[in-house]
Symmetry: C2
Subunit: 242 residues, 2 copies
């Protein structure tokens, strides 16, 4: 086999992490991921346009026209999902790519993985950037017990209630609580956390992870109140702990 020849890849559903921002691929993805990706012709993706762009970043010589894309998002119907796996059932390796970070974690993808598991098909998760794990590592908070809670309610009263419930778990279950917000509501989220939580509770804000603007800072609620950060519209993760 030639040095640049495409390897024959074992049939499996490969879960392929993508980038968290405009950064070089080799900063956050192992070389191995590229070697697998160039052997895959069927991709289940959240958005075809960004998936194509990602694949081109991974390997400029990929002939996108030779690839087949299946769109998986919140509009995809359950019966469409099962149909997507036909190539894999016929022995073709397939890939799942989400918009940012790890497929099936805080992102669509888990439904199609569940179907693959039900059908007894092999599933292979690949290593890549998870903003949740990176934020947890950088926070200094309890990494022996932690929970990711996705998005909190938007309505303020309900959100304050949700934050207080998470803070209760911090103190009563000794569990780090992680959550996120759509970037344009970062400011609102910080204001609500500062309002809901005790002064001595610690808040870690992890913003723009893996990018040149990466910002990971842990302070108490009391300290944050004296220096409220301006995150702008950068994707951010929030963590609280005692």
């Amino acid at each position: 086999m030639g040095r640049n020849a495409v390897r024959t890849i074992a049939p499996a559903l490969y879960l392929i992490p993508s980038l968290l921002g405009e950064i070089p691929v080799e900063q956050v993805l192992p070389q191995y991921n590229r070697d697998l990706i160039i052997g895959i012709r069927h991709f289940i993706v959240e958005d075809v346009r960004t998936a194509r762009r990602f694949l081109k970043q991974v390997e400029g010589s990929i002939d996108i026209e030779q690839l087949t894309f299946y769109t998986l998002n919140k509009h995809t119907k359950p019966d469409e999902l099962a149909g997507m796996l036909v190539p894999l059932e016929q022995g073709e390796p397939m890939g799942v790519i989400s918009e940012a970070g790890c497929p099936a974690v805080a992102d669509p993808g888990s439904d199609v993985v569940a179907i693959a598991q039900r059908k007894g098909l092999r599933v292979v998760p690949l290593v890549g950037p998870s903003s949740i794990i990176l934020a947890l590592m950088g926070s200094g908070f309890n990494g022996q017990s932690f929970a990711f809670n996705g998005y909190l309610p938007i309505e303020q009263e309900e959100r304050i209630k949700a934050l207080k419930k998470l803070e209760w778990k911090v103190y009563n279950e000794d569990q780090t609580q992680i959550f996120m917000e759509t970037p344009y509501r970062n400011g609102k989220m910080i204001a609500d956390i500062l309002k809901a939580c005790k002064p001595q509770t610690r808040l870690c804000i992890a913003s723009g992870l893996t990018t040149p603007d990466e910002y990971i800072r842990t302070l108490t609620i009391k300290q944050w109140k004296e220096q409220i950060p301006e995150l702008g519209k950068v994707p951010s993760i929030f963590l609280i702990y005692k």
Copy 2:
């Protein structure tokens, strides 16, 4: 600067993931990690011997004798911890390496990160294999809400109680529950899960992640009872969901 010259690395506490098994470095670590590692001379590590071996795997030409190692494990006293960061405070980049996977996640390391955060020192988490995230990706379970619970109690009655409490959270909080066990107790753990959980609850067993023996399988408790797996002493992660 020559091609192989060591770059000057910005002073920060770099959190450096290590391997989950005997596999090539480029399978699970980005090239970028190596480029940073060769610029670091001070390492906080769980075990000096395995850290040296890991560094040699990352880059064979590293001169281990030129490096300084600080041991961080459960025997390390809090006042020793703060002292470890002196080189960083003097402008030297430092690295934290744990025994397997991501430092400060289900592993020591978070204490020293917390001190760095308190002192306002920059913390930079690097991408690498997290068995928790890989297992979650491969499980097909809810990735919008999940909790990692570390090790469960060893004593059977308490463990069954803990498992029932986690299963309660699955159904009442719609949250994937993740936990682990020391490899030589895998069989006992599986027996206890099958005993504690409802027949319709789904259990994912993720074993030997990233290694050639990787095994990730999701079945209901009822199905597992008909085909109890023999994991041997391979590091495994367990996940339950509805």
